[in-house]
Structure formats: structure tokens, C-alpha cells
Amino acid sequence: MQSKAGYLIGKTVELILTLLVVSLLVFAAFSIIPGDTARVMLGPDASESQVELLRAEMGLDKPLATRYLTWLASLITFDPGKSYAYNVSVGELIAQRLPVTIGMSVIAMIMVIIISYPLAVLSARKPGRLGDQVCSVIGHVLFAIPPYVASLLLILLAGSIFSLLTVGNYVRPSDDFAGYIACLLLPSFAVALPKIAMSFKFLRSSIIEQKTADYVRTSKSHGLSDLKILIRHVLPNSNVSSITIISIILSDILGGSLIVEQVFNLPGLGRLLLSAISRRDFPLLSGIVFYLAFVTVLLYFISDIASSLADPRIRLK
């Protein structure tokens, strides 16, 4: 018999190991890329000795293992060096841009859940009916639209035709929280649209599957009403399988918002990432990539823990 704490510790060890591997991969990727950072920074006219001096200053002349360990230590303290291009600490840069990306992802996730869940429950009540079929067809169409196309369409629709929300505007949450939410609504919706379709399709089929399960028949024979069976048995069981899918959707949303930020001209992590790539700003680049990977791995970790809480078969093996 495995204890609850044992399971948690095991999962945490797994999380830390995964993160170590991720950091190693990120570091290796940026060390393998050809090109001398010091040379790029100083330009082609700088002398060899100037370049050497800068290399020593940045610690680039040290062996790889030492550089990796220094970098790893700096990641843990959330201070992975200074950006070459901005000359500001990477941690500070990321912290500045984080509210946009995280805000968009959270709003998009809430949209996905509050729209797809009720639709899936309604659709699964009588599969094959007209309403269900209409929902499924719309779902297919939405699923096929990439987020950046959806963004352009939404800008056109909301901005030009209805002029509902100001497009391309950004307000800091510290200045005006309501304004901050309002200017993130449209981009979040663009990210959420295909994911709504995805989670709708998944939830619907998992509810339909659970409805034919044997324990539903048992509950019926116990005299429970259909609503009670849905709430107490069908939905919890379909949630168990949905948790994994929702964590995948969430990490997809994170990736989607990086692109949509560009279209809506929002100062988020996506733009920072692009500028870091074009300027070969390796400390900034590796910082962003690692922390994004960190969030993704963390999401999977949380979904594992959540599904173990929801499912006694995992919790009490």
C-alpha cells in the first residue's frame, strides 16, 4: 500500500529530475548554436583582444560544466544574468512581460471551461440530435482555424465593424485592473476558440462514454434521478479523464498566446522572445525558454496530482 505522502514525494522527485533534464537541454541547445556572442555584441570591427576581454568578463571562457552550473544556480534564484541587448536583468524583463502572457492564458482557460463544459453536457444529453450536430460542425470549423487567423478575424469584427473593444491597446494591471482585463479579452478569445472546440469534443465523448457505464445502470436501479446520476457519477468520472487533456490544452494556450500577442501588438513574452532571437541575446533567450518549459512541466505535475486526488485508484493503489 502506497501512502499519499509517498506518492507526492515521488512525483516531486520526478518533477525536479524533469526540470534538470529540461535545463540541460536548453543549455546544450544554446551552447551548440554556432556564433560567438562577444563577437556579435562588439561588431565586426572590434579587435581580437577586445573580444577576448569581453568573453572573460561574461564568463564565456570557462569550461562548459562550470558555465552550466553557474547558469543553473542563477535560474533557481530567478536571476539568470543580464540581457545583452537591453542591459537589464533577465529576471526583471520577464517579470515585466509576464502579466500579459499569464493574464491571457488564464482568461483563455476560463473561457474554455465556461463555454465548453455546459455545451458538452447539453450536447451529450441526446447525442445525434440537431443541437448536438450543429455544435459538432461549428466545433470542427473552429478547430481548424489557427489562432493568428482567428485574431485577425476578431480584430476585423470587433475593432473595425463593431468598434466594441480597443484593439492594440495595453493597460498595466497596476494602473487599471478592469482596463487590463478588457484589453486582454479579445486576444484571449482568439487563443481560446480552437481550444474550446477541442475540449468540447473531448468532454462530450467522455460524458457519452461514461453514460453507458455499468455503474450508471446500477445507480438507475437504485432509483436515482438522471440529474443526480449526471452530477454525482457521470461528471466526476469524465473529469478524471479530462484533467490530462485540460493540462495539455493549457500548455497549448500558453504557446498560442505567444503568437497572438504579436497580432494584437501586446508587450508580452512572445515579443520579448522574438527580439531576443533576432539579437542573439542568449541569456534572455535561454531564460525565457527555460521558464516557459518550467511552467509547462509544472502544469503536468499539477495535473498528475489533481488526477490522483480525483481518482482513488491512483491515490490508493
Binding site: 445502470r217 437504485h222 432509483g223 457519477h233 466526476p236
Partner: protein, 542 residues
């Protein structure tokens, strides 16, 4: 409610599944007319597809939405059920009519403790609910009645922490909690082993007396209702074709179909013509397994925490040999490690010890023919996949592609025909076949690989008596004509006695007895063999 002679009266009931294409299909229940007397145990026997489950669902009001009752009526204690509003009918479930079903492993919600699930029965019927303490007391009391000595503990357990027999007891407790007048049991024991079956039947009989319940007992096994039912009805193709007292029907069946069912469930070797091949034990065995020890995986964390933990092993040093032409029986109760052993022998489970197979391939057929075949593909596809997998492909042979294809088809057709499936089955998909036919396809897929040994893991447990008898005949025919050895795993001693010359009894992951079947069963030396035999005797009276 006033007492009636008949608690349920089904009057000329006809039921069908009309579709848009076919508005008047062949009825599933055709003019079914019977009564269940107050206080009796009525057996309803028939092969799968005979309409016995639909009859019970019609009484309970749980028919699938696509079902239409075209004529007839059902009266429960004088009230016409078909005239009632859906809400009234639902209120009767659990309170007046209780039900238990075939598969206890999936019949409980895996996310809810047993206590909570039983509590729902009470809260669903407001008039009977009472305070939480009263409800808990009633549940614990009922769990005690169905034979749990640790009722409080069971309340807090999740279904996966219970065995199949325990789950069925919990389900029986749920069905009997409100002391309904009628308990419908739809094959409650068909997925349980013999020892558990006997105890569940004894419990049902006991409840019937204690709580003054009437039981409608549905089964496909005619001999299993012996000593349990008062009266028996036999169903075939939606009609009740025979009814009599249980003792008369079992000793002196008047209907020819009933007689046939009886023969099938008794597996009379002479009537069925079961003739296994003779075995020469001096030849070298086709399969030799030595010191197999196996268990199920532990998580990374557990392995780090406790490196030398061996108590997770299910099997301990099992050695066995299967000789050419032999049908070797392997019996044991549930949890004895039968399936683990098979998985180790097939190389599906990591194990210590050695397995030597003197053959290019061994075949395997499993318990559940439904999930073993790919529903998206035809039987022909399955067969040619099996042929490819065997490495005996014809592609290296001379001739054009068309010629090779026609040769392959000829071979597939020949093997299918040998298994009793004509060429018409080639283009069918698994869901168009019955359980027995699927199991035949599984055997045909083995045979096309020409194995020297076929391992059969409980191939009969999901089949009705007639299909089992036919499958058993097919297996002995293959054994005799093709000299294929079988390792037959089952909890049914009766089958082993009929066809296996040698027998191994597995208990708690160890071989506790081994030898010629007649000797082992005639003079059991170990307690577990004796227990299996005792259960068999009380169930079938053989």
C-alpha cells in the same frame, strides 16, 4: 400493498427495436406471458440473445430508449407498470424492485466509497431516508446481513479495494437495502469463480427467506439453478418455450431444446463427442517453464525506498511442462495467479526463471473475445495479420501477386472453415459476430500460425453454455486432428475433468497439486483443491 398470488404478472408482452429503416423488425420479446409468485425464486434460462435480459429490464423499466413495447402489459402487485408516469416508476426502483447485474467489477462507481454509494439508495427515496446516523446504521446492518464481518471498514473502501465477490455482496446490499419485494438477478455469478458463486447463491437464498423477497434469477447455465430455483422457465428467440418446477426440468426435461441446454451445461463427453488425443509422456515437452517468479511493477519511488521488497510477487517458483498433444488443465480460484502465469509464459510480463518453447510459435486465446479483436477491421484482415505475424508469409513464394493473394485467401478460408466459420464471415467485422463466433476467430487466428501449443486463458467464462460446449468440441477436435497441445486455464473443474488428462492446481501463486486429473480430483490432497471440488459439487451436483 395488498398481497397477490403473483407479485409480477407479465401479460402477452411483445417488444421490438424499430428503426427508421425497419419500422417492424422481428420482435425481441414475442408474446411473453408469465407470472412470478410471491416469495418464490424463479429461474429464467436461455442462451445469449434469447431475450431474458430484456424481459427483466422491461419489468424494472430500464429498457433502452430505442425499445418499443408494441403490446401487452406488466402488472406489479396489481398496478399496471406501463401506465405509470416515468417518475413513479423510477421511485419504485430500489424501493420495490431491486436489481443486481452480471459484472460486479464495473457496476460500482470507481470514484465513490461503497458506503456513499449505498447511502444514495436511501437518499434517493426521501420517504425512507432518515438522519445520516440512521442511514449509516441501516447500511452497516445490511452489510452485516450480506456477510461482511468488517462492515464499518467496507463502508470507507473504494470498489477497487474489494474482490469481485465482495463487490457483488456490496451490490446485493444496495439492492436489498430498502427490502424490495422483488429482486432481479441478471447473471449475478457468471463472472465469479465457483467457490464465490456458491457463497453468493447461498446468500441470495438466505436473503429471500429473511427479507421475504421474491427473486427472478436469470442465467444461461441450466445446471447452476439446481437446488436454488423453485421454478424454471426456458427462453429461446424471445419466447418462453418451456416452464416447469426446477427438479422436473433438470431430471426429466420434456422439451427437446431444454434437453439440449442441459446436455450442453453438463458437457456430456459421449453426447458431445469430445475425444482428446492420446499423449505420449516420453516425448520431450513443447513448453518447459522453470521457477517462474513474477509480480506487478512498483513505482520508481517504492523501488528507491525499499529495494529488496519481494512480497509484491504473485507467483513463486512455478515450474511446469506441457507435452506434445496434451491438454493440460490449470485450475485455481480467483487471485491464485493463473493469469499472471500465462502472461509470464507468453513473455508479456517480466519474470525470473526460464521458459523454453520447442516451437516456432505459440498461440493464445483470452477470456474476453469482445476486446481482443479490432472492431475497425474485417475477419479477413485479422486472419491475414495473424498470418503475417507468424512469418509464414507467402510473399517469398513464386507466382504473381494475384496468385499469392488467392493462395493466402484459400488458406484463410480453410482455417476458418475448420473452426466452423464459412467463407461468408470473411468480410464481417467483430461486432457482427456472437461471443462464441469471436472466440472461434481468435482460435482460427492461432491456428493459421500452426502453433504446437495454444494457451487458452478462461476462454469459456464469457460464453453461454451452448457456445462453451461448441468451443470445447472445437478445441478437442483441433487437439486430436492437428496434434496441437493446449494449456487450458479455467476455474471450471467440470470442463477440465472432461477433456484434460493431466491437471495442475494453483493456489496463492504456488502449485499445490499436480498429476493425472482423475487422481487429483478423485483424491484431493490439498485444501484448495478440496474446496474447489466442494463448490463444484454443490453447484452442479456432479
Amino acid at each position: 400493498m395488498p398481497r397477490h398470488i403473483h407479485i409480477v404478472k407479465v401479460h402477452h408482452l411483445t417488444l421490438s427495436f424499430p428503426t427508421r429503416k425497419d419500422p417492424n423488425p422481428k420482435p425481441v420479446l414475442d408474446d411473453v406471458d408469465f407470472g412470478i409468485r410471491d416469495g418464490e425464486i424463479l429461474g429464467l434460462i436461455g442462451n445469449s440473445g434469447s431475450g431474458k435480459t430484456m424481459t427483466s429490464l422491461a419489468i424494472a423499466g430500464l429498457l433502452p430508449e430505442s425499445a418499443r413495447i408494441t403490446s401487452g402489459s406488466i402488472k406489479f402487485a396489481g398496478n399496471d407498470l406501463l401506465e405509470m408516469a416515468p417518475k413513479e416508476r423510477r421511485a419504485m426502483l430500489g424501493r420495490d424492485i431491486g436489481m443486481i447485474f452480471q459484472e460486479p467489477s464495473t457496476a460500482l462507481d470507481p470514484l465513490m466509497t461503497c458506503g456513499k454509494q449505498l447511502d444514495e439508495v436511501l437518499t434517493a427515496h426521501k420517504d425512507k431516508a432518515g438522519t445520516p446516523e440512521e442511514r449509516h446504521k441501516a447500511i452497516v446492518e445490511m452489510l452485516g446481513t450480506v456477510g461482511f464481518t468488517n462492515a464499518e471498514e467496507i463502508c470507507g473502501r473504494y470498489p477497487h479495494q474489494l474482490s469481485g465477490g465482495q463487490r457483488q455482496r456490496v451490490l446485493i446490499a444496495g439492492a436489498a437495502l430498502l427490502k424490495p419485494r422483488l429482486l432481479i438477478c441478471d447473471e449475478p455469478t457468471s463472472s465469479l469463480d465457483t467457490v464465490t458463486t456458491v457463497s453468493i447463491l447461498a446468500l441470495l437464498k438466505d436473503l429471500c427467506h429473511k427479507l421475504h423477497m421474491t427473486i427472478l434469477f436469470i442465467s444461461h447455465d441450466l445446471s447452476a439453478v439446481r437446488g436454488f430455483c423453485d421454478r424454471v422457465m426456458v427462453m429461446k428467440d424471445g419466447k418462453i418455450i418451456d416452464r416447469d418446477t426446477a427438479s422436473d426440468i433438470l431430471t426429466n426435461p420434456r422439451n427437446s431444446y431444454t434437453a439440449e441446454l442441459l446436455t450442453n451445461s453438463r458437457l456430456d463427453t459421449r453426447i458431445l463427442g469430445l475425444e482428446p488425443a492420446t499423449v505420449d509422456y516420453s516425448r520431450s515437452p513443447v513448453l518447459t517453464a522453470k521457477d517462474i517468479t513474477a509480480g506487478y511493477g512498483r513505482s520508481l519511488f517504492e523501488r528507491v525506498k525499499n529495494k529488496k521488497q519481494t512480497d509484491t510477487n504473485v507467483l513463486h517458483n512455478v515450474s511446469l511442462e506441457v507435452f506434445p498433444n496434451e491438454i493440460l488443465g490449470l485450475i485455481g480460484g480467483s487471485g491464485s495467479g493463473k493469469t499472471t502465469l500465462i502472461r509470464s509464459l507468453l513473455g508479456l510480463l517480466p519474470h525470473s526463471g526460464t521458459v523454453n518453447i520447442k516451437s516456432s510459435s505459440i498461440g493464445a486465446i483470452f477470456q474476453d473475445p469482445v476486446s481482443c479483436l479490432n472492431p475497425a477491421h474485417t475477419i479477413r484482415w485479422h486472419m491475414s495479420e495473424a498470418l503475417k505475424a507468424s512469418g509464414r508469409q507467402l510473399s517469398s513464394e513464386p507466382g504473381s501477386r494475384a496468385e499469392r493473394r488467392s493462395r493466402e485467401l484459400a488458406r484463410i478460408t480453410a482455417v476458418l472453415e475448420e473452426c466452423g466459420l464459412g467463407a461468408g464471415y470473411l468480410s464481417r467485422r467483430p461486432n457482427e459476430l456472437s461471443g462464441g463466433q469471436r472466440q472461434r476467430v481468435a482460435i482460427a487466428m492461432c491456428l493459421i500460425q500452426e502453433p504446437a501449443l495454444i494457451i487458452a486463458d478462461e476462454p469459456f467464462s464469457s460464453l453461454d453454455a451452448s457456445s462453451s460446449a461448441e468451443l470445447l468440441k472445437l478445441m478437442t477436435d483441433i487437439n486430436r486432428e492437428r496434434h496441437t497441445a493446449f494449456l487450458l486455464i479455467t476455474h471450471n473443474i467440470h470442463i477440465v475433468r472432461q477433456i484434460a488428462p493431466r491437471l495442475i492446481v494453483l493456489h496463492n501463486g504456488e502449485i499445490c497439486e499436480e498429476g493425472p486429473t482423475r487422481e487429483v480430483l478423485g483424491n484431493p490432497k490439498s485444501e484448495s483443491t478440496a474446496r474447489l471440488l466442494e463448490a463444484e459439487r454443490s453447484l452442479h451436483g456432479l
